[in-house]
């Protein structure tokens, strides 16, 4: 079916939008898996799954044995567990034991149908209609209907709910925009056209877990959801346990139980793994070095759009001059950072959120490389040939302090003297509003961004002139117009053309430096198989089996 000689068969599957992708596939711009992922995005789910998309988990399950307990370490959740408010990786992993989305954005297979079976957009990509899977039950025995889905999304876009998804839906979906069509059908009337909207109802928006219409915010008491496990016990600050959900709509979970313990320290997680007390722990570069190449452990990684964004205040001296911004970006040796700091578990970035994992990314845009001579020339042109002093403010998290030191050393080569101000994470984010947050107010800063299935949230929130996370204070009408073109683009080719224009503009303007996109990883014992996860911290354990 998917041999190049069968192109005409592929063309018969759908209309023009699909055929543009088929053209790209025929010309070799698109790989088979990317074509299948695109099929899923536009709702050709039957075709995608018939070609093997999304069955990797099931295939593993076939060889797995039922039973056993999966023992998992997570970091300490940062707040009370509530899908509407959740932002931290530990809470996301915890919720993903019981909660499900309309779609799952699988790192390998792209969008997979979960509580939604099929979806389609109208001609303008402004109204999207989702058909729900029948026979899905919440853990309390009630069936999932369109009313629950409408209530879930209405809550998420309601400012009064304090939802953490408000930034994601800003300018895209408003209160009243989610419509009940019938018991199994929901329609979304968007504020503006968006061809990537299915990603916004997927696991990419971690808060979009489908909850009952009468959900009262008491998630910690019930952990109510539709997933393959249901709550056994939850002890705040200590951990949680889950048991197999016998009424699950899909293939029943293989393990009998999942036991999760919270740890404050990655060192303790590694020691417990080494002592045989745990099967799965979070990845940190230090933990990875600890398990090294020992065959008793596995490091599983997925390619992601996770990155550390360096923002440069475009409205304040000295970065108001784009030549200075470009100069700083040119001092950075990205290959060395990927090899030395990230131990190869990353790919080089090109100062835009368009990661190579996105099918819309234009690969023809030239890659920025270290060029100290050019950096000095630009500084000279900008009138700061002797360099300047600037403070880089950032958070004490992950490898960011080390990355900051490397940027400081690289910049020194062009005469830029960077002072570091490394703050505890809470202090760095402050209240996350302009005027009250070192993150959003600093002249130069580094902020970590988790994976998303499309670059849309990065492009809207961090670069649009009205963006809520626009730490660079980038105010460029051309960019805003190009972003609108990108959002409206219905087919992959149009998206890629718009993406290329944005990528080139961002290279020229350089409001951000994105040196790398990190892989997302977890460390497991070699005795377990079938551990799956998304690059945004969901931990899927229903297909786990023991050797």
């Amino acid at each position: 079916m998917t041999e190049r000689s069968d192109i005409s068969t592929l063309r018969d599957l759908s209309g023009d939008i699909w055929n543009v992708a088929v053209d790209e596939y025929e010309k070799g711009f698109l790989k088979r898996r990317d074509l299948l992922k695109y099929a899923a995005l536009i709702g050709l789910t039957g075709f995608a799954t018939s070609q093997g998309l999304g069955i990797s988990g099931s295939a593993r399950a076939a060889g797995g044995q039922q039973g056993g307990t999966v023992r998992v370490a997570l970091d300490q959740p940062t707040a009370a567990i509530d899908p509407i408010l959740v932002t931290d990786p530990a809470s996301i992993a915890l919720i993903s034991q019981v909660g499900e989305y309309l779609l799952l954005d699988d790192p390998k297979d792209g969008l997979l149908p979960k509580l939604a079976l099929s979806w389609e957009a109208d001609e303008t990509a402004k109204t999207w209609t989702f058909k729900l899977r029948q026979g899905v039950k919440f853990h309390d025995g009630r069936f999932v209907t369109a009313k629950d889905v409408v209530a879930t999304f209405e809550r998420l876009v309601d400012p009064a709910s304090g939802s953490s998804a408000l930034s994601a839906y800003k300018g895209l979906l408003s209160k009243g925009g989610t419509r009940y069509v019938d018991e199994q059908t929901v329609a979304f009337d968007l504020d503006s056209p968006n061809s990537n909207f299915p990603f916004y109802v997927s696991s990419d928006v971690v808060n979009a877990v489908i909850l009952p219409a009468d959900y009262k915010g008491d998630f910690e008491k019930t952990f109510i959801g539709t997933g393959p496990f249901k709550l056994d016990a939850f002890l705040p600050k200590q951990g949680a346990s889950f048991v197999r959900n016998a009424d699950y709509w899909g293939e029943k979970a293989l393990p009998d139980r999942v036991e999760i313990k919270f740890y404050n320290d990655p060192q303790a997680q590694v020691l417990a793994l080494q002592a045989g007390q745990l099967d799965v722990i979070p990845y940190t570069p230090r933990s990875a070095l600890a398990v090294g190449s020992n065959p008793a452990y596995k490091i599983i990684s997925v390619q992601a759009s996770t990155h550390d964004e360096v923002h440069l205040r475009t409205d304040q001296p000295v970065f108001e001059d784009k030549r200075v911004r470009r100069a700083l970006a040119l001092t950075i040796d990205r290959e060395a950072i990927v090899k030395g700091l990230l131990k190869g578990r990353a790919i080089v970035g090109n100062d835009s959120p368009f990661a190579p994992v996105f099918s819309s990314t234009d690969p023809s845009v030239p890659q920025r490389k270290q060029d100290i001579g050019e950096a000095k020339r630009l500084l000279g042109e900008a009138g700061v040939a002797n360099g300047f002093e600037v403070t880089l403010t950032t958070e004490r998290a992950y490898d960011i302090p080390d990355y900051a030191v490397l940027i400081q050393n690289f910049a020194k080569k062009a005469g830029i003297d960077i002072k570091l101000n490394v703050l505890p994470q809470d202090a760095y984010y402050g209240s996350a509003t302009f005027g009250n947050s070192p993150w959003l107010d600093s002249v130069l800063g580094i902020t970590d961004f988790g994976h998303r299935g499309t670059p849309d949230i990065f492009l809207n929130a961090t670069l649009k002139s009205s963006g809520t996370w626009n730490a660079a204070h980038f105010n460029n009408p051309t960019y805003d117009a190009l972003l609108l073109d990108y959002s409206k683009a219905r087919d992959l080719q149009a998206q890629r053309i718009a993406a290329g224009k944005i990528q080139n503009l961002l290279l020229d303007e350089t409001p951000l430096i994105i040196s790398y996109f990190s892989q997302y990883s977890r460390i497991t014992s070699s005795k377990v198989d079938g551990v799956r996860f998304t690059a945004i911290s969901h931990l899927l354990l229903d297909r786990v089996s023991f050797a």
Binding site: Q267, R286, G292, G340, L406
Partner: protein, 292 residues
């Protein structure tokens, strides 16, 4: 001191020559010599370290990260490929600047408070004493951490916060010593000769409690070294890319389970040597006998 005060001065219980002799006797002891030598060594490193480091302590080498100790890098390299030995040599700079200044601030302000409370006595002493007790009941590290988080970490903040945290501790000790002195005959003589309260406090009593203050100074200095290192370890003190030892331990701690021990071991050793050296001197000055 005026002629009228000479009587009081002559009656002071601690004779200047005796005092000097006692100090010399104490400093001639082996623990003091060893302690002072170690302190001087680190002081030399702080002042002139850059002149004799084998590598640039701040230059990264991303192709040689976390290499174990060998002939080239005697103490190995850290996670950015920086030479650990070179960083330990220059890493003494921040701690040797911050800890003494913080101690000085704490001892000066604590001595002032102690002097006033001890001399004035009465209701002022009772109320002031209870306030000092209340401050001392607060856990030191928690208070310092909360303050640093609230106002943001910087060298000046760390000096101020540690200095202020030490103030009640020093004040209580000095107050006890002052109260003892206040009852002495030479103070009565000074009062009879018409000296005002400020003169009595600063010119009569202060010289006679200076030993207590000296002991307090050295003892607190040892604790201050430890406090600065602890705050750096917790990420609330000195900022990267400083080669500060506490910061280096915090950065290298996560590599221990991977068998990469050298960053933590050598930096810990440096802190231990500094604290031990200070404690050896403090012990010889009678710190542990006299202070609470």
């Amino acid at each position: 001191m005026t002629g009228d005060m000479s009587l009081a001065a002559r009656q002071a219980p601690v004779d200047r020559a005796t005092s000097i002799r006692r100090v010399v006797e104490r400093f001639a002891k082996p623990p003091v010599v060893i302690g002072a030598s170690v302190l001087l060594f680190w002081l030399a490193c702080a002042l002139f370290g850059n002149a004799f480091v084998p590598f640039d302590p701040y230059a990264d080498d991303l192709l040689s990260t976390l290499t174990p100790p060998d002939g080239l890098h005697w103490f190995g390299t850290d996670q950015l490929g920086r030479d650990v030995l070179s960083r330990i040599i220059v890493g003494s700079r921040d701690i040797l600047l911050i800890a003494p200044l913080a101690t000085l601030l704490g001892v000066v302000s604590g001595s002032l408070v102690g002097l006033i409370l001890g001399y004035v006595g009465g209701l002022t002493d009772i109320v002031g004493g209870r306030i000092l007790d209340a401050f001392m009941a607060l856990p030191f590290v928690v208070v310092v951490m909360m303050t640093l988080v609230a106002i943001g970490p910087s060298n000046i903040t760390v000096i101020t916060v540690i200095g202020l945290a030490y103030t009640p501790l020093v004040a209580r000790t000095v107050r006890s010593a002052v109260r003892e002195q206040r009852e002495q005959d030479y103070i009565s003589a000074a009062r009879l000769s018409g000296e005002n309260a400020l003169s009595i406090m600063f010119l009569e009593i202060l010289p006679n409690v200076r030993e207590t203050i000296m002991v307090e100074l050295v003892t607190r200095l040892g604790y201050a070294f430890f406090a600065v290192a602890t705050l750096s370890f917790l990420g609330l003190g000195i900022q990267p890319p400083s080669a500060d030892w506490g910061l280096a331990i915090a950065e290298g701690y996560g590599f221990l389970t991977g068998g990469m021990w050298w960053v933590v071991l050598f930096n810990s050793g440096a802190i231990v040597s500094l604290v031990l050296a200070t404690n050896l001197i403090a012990h010889s000055l009678g710190a542990f006998e006299d202070s609470p």
